[in-house]
């Protein structure tokens, strides 16, 4: 396992994320259909397809530049609630990385924290509101606890916690986003944004495991 992660990892991450979102498009649509408006999978796939094409067309020089490119593309292609939220997350993550070429545990934690904080700043959701924050927050916490065990371990901890966090949104009653219109009827269904967060963080960990 590498002691730091570089541009290769970042690109591998983003490609893996694009692949899993494409593959899970219908699953995310289905989650959103039940408590939302059936577009989350479509939106995310459209966004990541465009983001990968952009990375291809204008190859970035650093991990931060890669995340910034993705941020801008998501902002202008995803739309809906997820577009600005993920766009902000990737933008803040990019800013946190600056032009570092190699990322250690601390850098990765800073990246995840900045992403989460960006989503909170824009969306104003609290933990437990049944949003993507409920995957991001445990992920940041777990990553923090794993700092010192190496980048792959940090990201694995984040991904595992995000997966549990996404699952844990099921019993919750939504208070933010479209699912909140359903009131009590939103309970019993997983939040699509928390699920897509879990997919994206798993992709980061898998890429690190291969680095």
């Amino acid at each position: 396992m590498a002691a730091t992660l570089g541009l290769d990892w970042a690109l591998d991450w983003l490609h893996r994320a694009g692949a899993v979102l494409a593959e899970q498009r219908m699953a995310l649509i289905e989650l959103d259909r039940v408590i939302g408006d059936a577009d989350h999978g479509e939106n995310m796939e459209r966004g990541f397809t465009a983001a990968l094409a952009k990375l291809e067309a204008a190859p970035p020089a650093t991990p931060g530049a890669a995340l910034k490119s993705v941020a801008m593309t998501l902002m202008s292609t995803v739309g809906g609630a997820a577009g600005p939220l993920y766009g902000t997350a990737f933008l803040r993550a990019a800013t946190a990385l600056g032009d570092a070429e190699e990322l250690d545990d601390a850098a990765l934690l800073a990246m995840l924290t900045a992403a989460r904080d960006g989503i909170v700043a824009r969306g104003k959701a609290d933990p437990g509101d049944k949003t993507m924050i409920d995957a991001w927050t445990p992920a940041v916490d777990a990553a923090g606890a794993a700092v010192g065990q190496g980048p792959a371990a940090v990201l694995r901890a984040a991904a595992d916690a995000a997966a549990l966090g996404a699952e844990a949104t099921e019993p919750l009653v939504a208070r933010k986003g479209r699912a909140s219109y359903l009131g009590e009827r939103s309970a019993g269904h997983r939040d699509p944004g928390a699920q897509s967060t879990s997919f994206i963080l798993r992709a980061a960990a898998d890429a690190a495991g291969n680095a």
Partner: protein, 333 residues
């Protein structure tokens, strides 16, 4: 899924191409980024009025671009708010230097994307005001929700603010009118059937043959609760009562009554609902002074309707009656 479409992913683009061909005298359509502007935009020294949102609600919003209403509209993907990079050029195209009012339906996605666009436009020197429409009484406006949604009332806000802009009102005044209309308008909807988002391919929710969904939104999202099918009169009463409880009009209040079809309901049924609603309102000592009946804010092919009630003042009546020339609303010209 049975639809008159080609590729589910090309639905919005092909719709807007067709719209541009059919209404070439009225609008110019930009496909990438996607937005629609008045043929004669920017109209010199007029406050610009821009709206937008997910597609699937046709004729909202592109159908309301033209004299006396919107200067530009920005359609997103189906049921997905448009992105700032499309809202921005639409806003710039609508700006004559007199500033622009953005009419935004209150959904998280719309709010966030228009917010960013507004910041970007402001950075380019445009004076931008944002007015949120949140007329749907089906949603509790509390800390525990994303707040009330913007539904049928949006058309009324756009018509009245559009008329104010057209007659030369200032940016402050147009913003004020839009906010005033929003403050005095309430809506509530019902679905008899679900709709199918083209890229999803399956209906947004399931209803039994004898069930209806009360408090439905316009995004194929489920409503607040389900009931057994009732008579049109009973359903109308169910929709009107929370509207009136929230609007609290005083006796004699003049109203605009808007019965809106969700896209798949025959016009005859809308008139049956209009009849029932008029009776209830008049029995309550209220006065139906203006009316609108038809498919104006839809949810694809959903069957059902929404009721919208606007408490009118003299200025609103004048603005409502003012000439309008758009694809979907036209009079006086």
């Amino acid at each position: 899924m049975k639809k008159l479409i080609n590729d589910p992913r090309a639905v919005v683009e092909e719709t807007m191409e067709g719209f541009g061909l059919a209404h070439a005298d009225l609008v110019t359509v930009s496909l990438d980024p996607m937005y629609v502007v008045r043929k004669d935009a920017p109209v010199v020294t007029k406050v610009g009025l821009v709206s937008g949102g997910g597609s699937g609600h046709e004729p909202l919003h592109a159908g309301y671009v033209g004299r006396g209403m919107l200067d530009a509209a920005v359609p997103g993907a189906v049921f997905t708010s448009p992105t700032p990079d499309a809202v921005l050029p639409a806003t710039l195209a609508a700006n004559t230097g007199a500033g622009v009012v953005l009419i935004v339906k209150n959904y998280t996605g719309d709010v966030l994307n228009f917010e960013t666009a507004a910041e970007l436009a402001q950075a380019e020197g445009v004076d931008v005001r944002t007015v949120l429409v949140n007329d749907d009484v089906a949603v509790e406006d509390s800390l525990y929700t994303a707040g009330r949604r913007g539904v049928g009332g949006t058309v009324l806000v756009e018509k009245l603010a559009g008329a104010a802009a057209e007659r030369g009102d200032s940016l402050d005044a147009v913003e004020e009118i839009a906010k005033r209309v929003n403050a005095h308008v309430r809506s509530m909807g019902v679905a008899l059937t679900a709709c199918t988002v083209p890229h999803a391919g399956v209906p947004s929710f399931e209803l039994e043959e004898d069930e209806i969904e009360i408090g439905i939104g316009i995004h194929g999202e489920p409503g607040r609760h389900r009931l057994k099918l009732e008579s049109a009169d009973a359903i109308t009463a169910r929709l009107l009562s929370p509207i009136l409880a929230d609007l609290l009009p005083t006796p004699g209040q003049r109203l605009l009554l808007f019965v809106n079809g969700m896209g798949g309901t025959p016009q005859s049924e809308l008139y049956i609902v209009f009849r029932a609603a008029t009776q209830i309102l008049e029995d309550a000592g209220l006065q139906v002074e203006r009316s609108l009946v038809g498919n104006y804010v839809t949810a694809l092919e959903m069957q059902g309707c929404s009721l919208t009630v606007l408490a009118l003042d003299d200025e609103m009546i004048e603005l409502w009656d003012a000439p309008v020339h758009t694809a979907a609303l036209r009079w006086g010209v």
